[in-house]
């Protein structure tokens, strides 16, 4: 299995390190030719405005959009979730539109409001997942095909899955907890049935 981690900008090395811990081959993606033969893609956290411009400049936006339409599994964390969305408030570039979610950027405020919170996420088991939210986005709306995997106590949706697409507002790549990445790998290998089918 080979997973490509988008390396235009952001915390891609952290995702690659976690994949290596899970004994999965992982490589950074900066150009379309590097997309060949992948079993899945991760779009990391970073600055969504910066990542999207570099993706456009080097023709990754359409290529990744097409791969998502063809059913390639994609995980997006934070900025990656912003890019997977169909609608984003406050981003001047059109996102990939792969998931039927509306996302608000910097939804909790500025850096001073960045926070950690223990998340209950039943698909990962009983133990709470350490959520690290950095200038994080949130899911404002999701259509009926989208399964919300985690919410903050007030009800705000912060992780979701739609078929083989997985998104989180927080940063599993900054934790020692491998369960979220394992969940994505299970989607890639087909060990997790597509939600709501």
């Amino acid at each position: 299995m080979k997973i490509g981690v988008l390396a235009s900008q952001g915390a891609f090395a952290e995702h690659i390190a976690i994949l290596h811990q899970l004994k999965v081959e992982a490589l950074p993606i900066r150009l379309p030719r590097e997309l060949n033969g992948l079993d899945g893609i991760i779009i990391p956290g970073g600055e969504s405005s910066s990542i999207s411009k570099l993706m456009l400049d080097y023709h990754l936006m359409n290529e990744v959009r097409n791969l998502a339409e063809d059913g390639l599994p994609i995980l997006g964390t934070c900025a990656g979730m912003v890019l997977l969305a169909s609608k984003v408030s406050d981003l001047d570039i059109e996102p990939l539109g792969a998931m039927d979610i509306t996302v608000r950027r910097n939804a909790f405020g500025r850096q001073i409001d960045s926070f950690e919170a223990e998340l209950s996420m039943p698909v990962l088991g009983e133990k709470p997942f350490p959520g690290i939210f950095i200038r994080a986005p949130l899911i404002e709306q999701a259509n009926s095909e989208v399964e919300i995997l985690a919410r903050l106590n007030g009800g705000t949706a912060v992780a979701a899955r739609q078929g083989k697409l997985l998104a989180s507002a927080f940063h599993p790549e900054l934790t020692d907890d491998l369960r979220f990445h394992q969940y994505f790998i299970d989607i890639v290998t087909g060990n997790r049935k597509v939600g709501l089918e």
Binding site: Q9, A13, K53, D57, Q111, S114, R135, L152, G155
Partner: protein
Amino acid sequence: MEQSEEEEMETGTWKVKAGLAQMLKGGVIMDVINAEQAKIAQEAGACAVMALERVPADIRADGGVARMADPTIIEAIMKAVSIPVMAKCRIGHFVEAQALQALGVDFIDESEVLTPADESHHIWKHDFKVPFVCGCRDLGEALRRIGEGAAMIRTKGEAGTGNIVEAVRHMRAVMDGIHKLANTSQDELMALAKEMGAPFELVAEIHKAGILPVVNFAAGGVATPADAALMMQLGAEGVFVGSGIFKSSNPEVRARAIVKATTHFQDPEIIAEVSKNLGEAMSGLDIKQIPTEELLAPRGW
């Protein structure tokens, strides 16, 4: 659902402070002095901007005491862009830092580019919820700053010169220090910590991990796409560009080219391509022609 969201949300933790620096990796942070420049930087793909009253080249030319920028300017820049906004305070001036935190800036640079307020002590940065970045010339200086709570490190270089030589010197010194620590034996660590003037715990941590515990950017003299890629190949995880963009003849094009070169730093064809037709770079300064007392890098310790 009776519990409010606030009860479970812990802000200002080390993880979210160091984590924001991790999100900036592979990116370019650009000095800007007004909302218009900030928008140009964001449009070019900057991952953050540094809000200033004057860029380092002008601070150098003007002389006098350089202080924290007028909050009006910082607020106008925060309003103009959606990417993170950083601002500088003087070395040791913790009240300027308190004011910047109150304004809501996303990162504070305790910077040698401004006139130091304290020649003996840097700010105790653990006390703040907002993360700090600090300059360094070698690993010992980097670890002293991390010990005080810096969540990100950058080379000092020699700001406002458009000359990369000092940034190269400082990055090589940091990297050499890390390699030396990683390859030394345990019983020599205490002596090395003493020699470097660095906290022993951090020395031991680097000996074990072989990497810095925080993100390390290049700064101080980056003027071209090739400069940015050079620093990345030497081990920088991202780049600050100060005067290099808005003191050049075509800031929009140069900013975009430096962003691309930072991402594709290992791809000589792309570096060559983006280096074409950029117009005049900022006029540079030979470090040897700057009087010693006007050098910025020796400020702080």
